[in-house]
Amino acid sequence: MSLKAKSERFLLYLFLTVGAVVVGFPFFWMVISSLKPLEDVVKFPPTIIPTRWMFSNYIEAWKSAPFARYFINTLLVASLVTIGVLLTSSLAAYAFALMEFKGKSFIFSLFLATMMVPYEVTLIPNFVLIRKLGWYNTYAALIIPWSCNAFSVFLLRQFFMNIPKDLFDAARIDGCGELGMLWRVAIPLSTPAILTVSLFSFLGSWNALLWPLVVTSSEDMRVLQVGLAVFLREEGTQYHLLMAAASFTIAPIVVLYFILQRRFIEGIVLSGLKG
């Protein structure tokens, strides 16, 4: 390797490493701050190593708001939304991909058009609707409106359309109905798309803030993100506790990310390139 090529490689690694350090720093700072006693946190210039390691911050933060309740709510909502999305979008995608019916392409373009509408536009009408249905401040308001989305339908449809028709014909000869073909042929052959849809439905629901903020009012209906925002508003200056709360909110998703890392990345690419 020539000297020029060597120094170029060095610069490249330097740039990438500095970038990674900058990107990773907030996580590091969050965890470090969450382990400091209050007097360390407000000290300026800040110290890196805490004078005392305050693991008790986590317990204190956890106890100062009903986080257990928030976690249960979020887990429940995110799981049910994911199941709902899978159910509706696989059925709809199957119909759009493999069945013939009148007005199919028109309905499909209507579906796609909904992707263009920013969610703020539908926020207020949806809110009014939720009120009229008597769902205000219930789980139904958090779950049902999100149990169907055009993007998932679109992604699954693309996958279903690429499955060889012969497989469906064979299944039909073996006496499979439409639902049977969806369940036994289409879904098993589209695992990457199914996983992507589940992962992003779950993640989107876990991280949602605006909608839950608008349609819930009581504390026992709060999801994690809303709970965290309220905690921030009320404990705004207790930075060590805020950072502890931020850490345990992020932790489950980070763990999930490390376990399913390849899936996440592939999913992003899949949704990005098909979308």
Binding site: L16, P26, W29, N207, G236, I268
Partner: protein
Amino acid sequence: MELFSSRDFWKSLLVTVYYVLGTVPPSLVLSFAIAYMLSGRIRGRSIFRTVYFLPYITSSVAAAMVWAWIFHPTSGVMNYILGLFGISPQKWLQEPTGIFSLLIGKIGIDIPEWAGGPSLALVSIMIFTIWQSLGFDVVIFLAGLTSIPEELYEQAKLDGANRWNLIRHVTIPLLSPTIFFLLIISTIRAFQAFNQIYVMTIGDPGGPLGTTRNITMFIFQNFYAFTRVGYGASGAIVLFAIILGLTIIQLKYVGRRVHYL
């Protein structure tokens, strides 16, 4: 109609435009550079990718809390880092003065308020947004880059192209569908931004002197705090019209310049 005569509405529109311009192009350029470097023969590519992607999956509420803490005016670590370079502490999220005014004011020239640019508070939120969206763009760019056949580069090299020529005449044209996709997606996202802005200015909704109130915050506040539902709803319609118009323009003019392999 009442909406169009409202100063707050126009101001929120300006904030939105600043926000879009201040987050979309920097994020695209930076992530392209990173993805380009990662696409070569790099040791530890997957580690870098993992780190760069991490912010994208973390909840923006929690991450915004962390950044608000980093930007804290009296004990934030950002001021400390700036201090190492001899720069005086800033008020960050509480600073309504425009970024250009701040920068140019340093050398003693005053510029009129309208040319002051986005407030430092808004710039702080932009930095956070770029941090969070970078990984997504990197991953998409990387996928696009690896799909470009190696032979094309070899061919161009034989024709005497240097590295810059290669990027300019091979990589960018072949990557144009990816760039185009990211441009549309990130523009739409930037227009709709809410979580970042809401959380980072939770103690002072709309930010110092309303300089971080974008259209979404405007809609939300009118609806939620001031209970002026109709007002908020008409803001939403305008937002929709803008996004729709922009997407059509992008499809028409930028889309025409996209090369498919």
